[in-house]
């Protein structure tokens, strides 16, 4: 841990001013569940920390409106996970939060901060004993050719195969969520699909936010697919574990039982939250059954590039998608 300057502004406007005043190298602190952890590991070494966790302006949850759901970036994962509208009308969103981390962490972590949770790759977290292009650009990748059981099957590059670890962003991606971002140049809205970056040749760049910008809100357009949805997460233990494979699936059926709309996104298997349009196309306009669900899973993993120890997660992922679709289909409204 390195010394850093710390400010806790009283308002969002003050926070934005403090952020730009502190300059690059500043980190925003919300729940602290990732930042503190990485600071203690010397992976994050911010010169300055702007603490926004107490800003009430950021904690609003509005799931009552007809057109969209809105979540303040500072709302707690635990609170959003228990929102009654989410539980009944968007179970995938509620489940993606409830199946993340532990209750203790969800009581601290915010839904905005969670979007930018950094990878659990052991070579990234392990510090100077290991090469890591994400931590030290140009140093190489310890995971490629190493213990890659948990590493990404989709979206990797020759520089990095670190898995995006989050669940919530995966479910949000399935529902075409957007994030409202505030900064010194005003507010802008980014599609969640445009927030995260694949590693490419610069895995140290993980998202499209500028250093002086802050996520203030997440919005999800209302959709009838919400009710017929699930976040299905397969992991090495039944709680407090990252996904081996996870799928957000959402289905709306027409009045003859055909698939009117379908959303599929993958968690735990890609370098970023991973939307599967091709898999969705497999189903839309057709019938959802065991075979079509399997085909959708196969389409979702068609581009998978397994390494040494993670090939089983292609088959596991296909089956996870199929299971998620089965559960979603049972919940779906006609």
């Amino acid at each position: 841990m390195h010394p850093f300057a710390y400010t806790a502004p009283a308002t969002l406007a003050d926070a934005l001013r403090a952020l730009s005043a502190a300059g690059p190298g500043t980190k925003v602190l919300a729940g602290g569940t990732t930042l503190y952890d990485l600071m203690k590991l010397d992976i994050e070494t911010p010169s300055s920390v702007v603490d926004v966790h107490a800003l009430r302006e950021l904690t609003g949850i509005d799931t009552g409106g007809p057109g969209e759901l809105s979540f303040g970036a500072g709302a707690l994962m635990a609170d959003v996970a228990e929102d009654p509208v989410l539980l009944s009308d968007y179970p995938a969103l509620a489940e993606s939060l409830a199946k993340a981390a532990s209750q203790q962490l969800r009581n601290m972590a915010t839904v905005g901060g969670n979007l930018l949770q950094r990878t659990r790759c052991a070579y990234f977290r392990g510090g100077p004993a290991f090469p890591c292009n994400k931590r030290r650009p140009g140093s190489g990748c310890g995971a490629i050719g190493g213990l890659d059981r948990g590493h990404a099957l989709l979206g990797g590059s020759d520089a990095c195969i670190a898995t995006y670890p989050g669940d919530w962003a995966v479910a949000l991606l399935a529902f075409d969520a957007v994030v409202d971002v505030a900064g010194p140049r005003g507010e802008r809205t980014i599609a969640l699909a445009d927030l995260h970056l694949e590693p490419g040749v610069s895995p140290d760049r993980e998202h499209t936010l500028e250093w002086d910008e802050l996520i203030v809100r997440i919005r999800v357009p209302a959709t009838p697919t919400g009710r017929g949805s699930t976040y299905h997460k397969i992991r090495d233990r039944e709680s407090y574990a990252f996904a081996l494979a996870a799928a957000a699936a959402a289905v709306a059926l027409d009045d003859r039982g055909g698939v009117a709309d379908c959303r599929i996104a993958l968690g735990g298997v890609a370098t970023r939250p991973w939307r599967c349009r091709a898999a969705e196309r497999e189903l839309i306009g057709g019938v959802l059954d065991e075979h079509s669900a399997r085909r959708a899973g196969e389409a979702a993993f068609a581009g998978a590039r397994p390494g040494t120890y993670n090939a089983f997660r292609v088959e596991l992922g296909i089956r996870t998608v199929a299971e998620a679709l089965r559960i979603a289909g049972e919940r779906a409204v006609r």
Partner: protein
Amino acid sequence: MTRLTRVGAREKVTGAARYGADHTPEGVAYAMPVVATVGKGRITRLDTEAAAAVPGVLLILSHLDNLGIIPAGYIMADGYAFQSLQPLLDDRVAYRGQPIALVVADTLVAATQAAGLVRAEYETEPFAVELGADGAETVLQEEAIPLPFLADIVVGDAEAAFEGSQVRVDGTYESGPQHQVPMELIGSVVEWQEDTVVVHEGTQSVGALRGGLARQLGIDPDRVQVIAPYVGGAFGQKNALQPHLAPLAVAARRAGRPVKLVLPRAHTFHAASFRPVARHRVRLGADASGRLLAVIHEVDQQASRHDLLPATYTEITSRLYAVPNFRGRQRHVKTDAQTPGYMRAPFEHSAAFAMESAVDELCQAIGRDPVEFRLANDAEVDPVTGKPFSSRHLAECLRRGAELFGWAARTPEPPRDVDGTMIGWGVATGAYPSLTVPTLARLRADAGGRIVAEVGGHEIGQGITTVLTCAIADDLGIDPDAVTVVVGDTRAVPHHLTAGAWGTNSTLRAVHAALRELRAGLGAAAAGRVDVAAAVTASGRDEVVVEAVTQGPGQPPEMIDRMRAGLVALAGPEYPDYVSFSFVAHFAEVRIEPVTRRIRVPRVVSVVDCGRVASPVTAEAQVRGAVVWGIGAALRERSEVDPRYGGFLNTDMAEYVIPVNADIGRIDVAFVNEPDFVLNPMGVKNLGEVALVGVAAAIANAVHHATGRRVRRLPIMVEHVL
């Protein structure tokens, strides 16, 4: 019998219990180690300039100083430490994660920051961290450590009997590495009070810390006090002196103030021992009727370069069955790691996984029910020595367990639930040697009717305080609240290491003997209720103090001197007139999802023969905890090793996957509860270790029943049954 809830339970759940590192003396400074980032080699340059410039830094200890300490010696070679290697004494790096410097500062923040600024340069060397790696050297145990109890066990002619058997099984099984990962981190608070050094540290062996630190510092052991009233989980990790202690004592002396060290979780994976990799080849031969004729059990166990952990895998596999021909062979494979060591049922868990999986394969090959096969091949006398068992109720464990589990309903074809869930039932047995160590107990009775018992033992969460409180209250017919047990404190009595499940048997022996002395001292009858207050008052003294020292049957008296010196002094399981083991049978049900194949364990039934149950509440808890451990070992836990870098990779509690509550279903525990008065006058054997032995095999056997897949390597994960 007094059915007492756990002594200290309230203190623990309310946070009032003070563990070693909770001690914060006035003026305490904080230490943080710097660890090697290469797999092996030599430090060519150590740059501490930036670290020393951090405000508040007091000291940076490394091999560049003369610390004035010597190694404490390996615990299994007449020493005190978990390994013979003492870091910070030279420029060698034997394994990744080895400490290379120790920073001491006014605050934990400063110490941590400065530790992060120490820069080392290395000359690296090739290293080997896996059994099959180039450069990993294999040695035969009976040649490398020529001690009688470590020699290969040979009975009859196992090769010939195996070759001549009508049915044969030949399998290779593997487990480990694993880490103990107790909740309480490794930590210590060291303070010099004039010329005496006082240590607060969670440990299973205050005596080893005392003797070892005295040896390292070159001072009289009477000038070392070690205090550990509570230990927040140890499981073998804290069974010896750790290499941080002597440098910490040097730092405290140089800084002229107390120093506290709490290792970060990641450091604990390299700072102390771990369960080594063990690869077993098991060959079983039987006749067509299902009579076991031959067992050949060969084990390769991971070692460090500097120490060999004496392996006793075959001690139980030669005794689970009445087999006329047995041959064991144990080898060590030297790797570039810290010395592996004792983790709950250190050899027996792994050995039983191999043996009891192989027996399940044999049962399948001959078409016999696995419970019936085991009952038919049960041993009446020790197959190795021909001596009687002090007691053996393994058959009763199997029968009771089968009944409680509903085993009779098992069919060779596994049932399927309506949703396609695969269901499997498995059984396995286990054994663990009844070991005894020299123990001193001192009882103080006062005129208020109170008893203070100072006993050489440690409260490592197993419930020894509760056991002793029960025993004293029951014997004297007094209220348990009138009894105070003091353990884990060198200021009271000398202590032997508490491990290997010998605590109850050993401390109860001493307390039982001391109670006889106390009754005599109080002028009370040999049995029956005692009015302690009246008897002390009648004696005319403020208190009546008695002492007793006990040891294992046949144990030479010099073993008591070893105990007093903090050295290991074990007796058993072979005693002059008998051998003694505890036994267990586990029955497990697994349910495996039809599509994504997650393996769940909805129920386990465990029946234990541990002699008389000394404390029902803590005994049941201990068995449940062991079953949770077994589920972790079977399905969850493994320390990941990348051979390119050495060391361990998944060094935190998010990535080292121990079970959570959601992983655990119903666990039913039963005891045979037949006293074993051959082993000791209280009729108790041991419990804490045997309860784990065989759980993993029962689960693996259930997985095989459910899926037809025989997984011979732990842990069994989703990819093995996909």
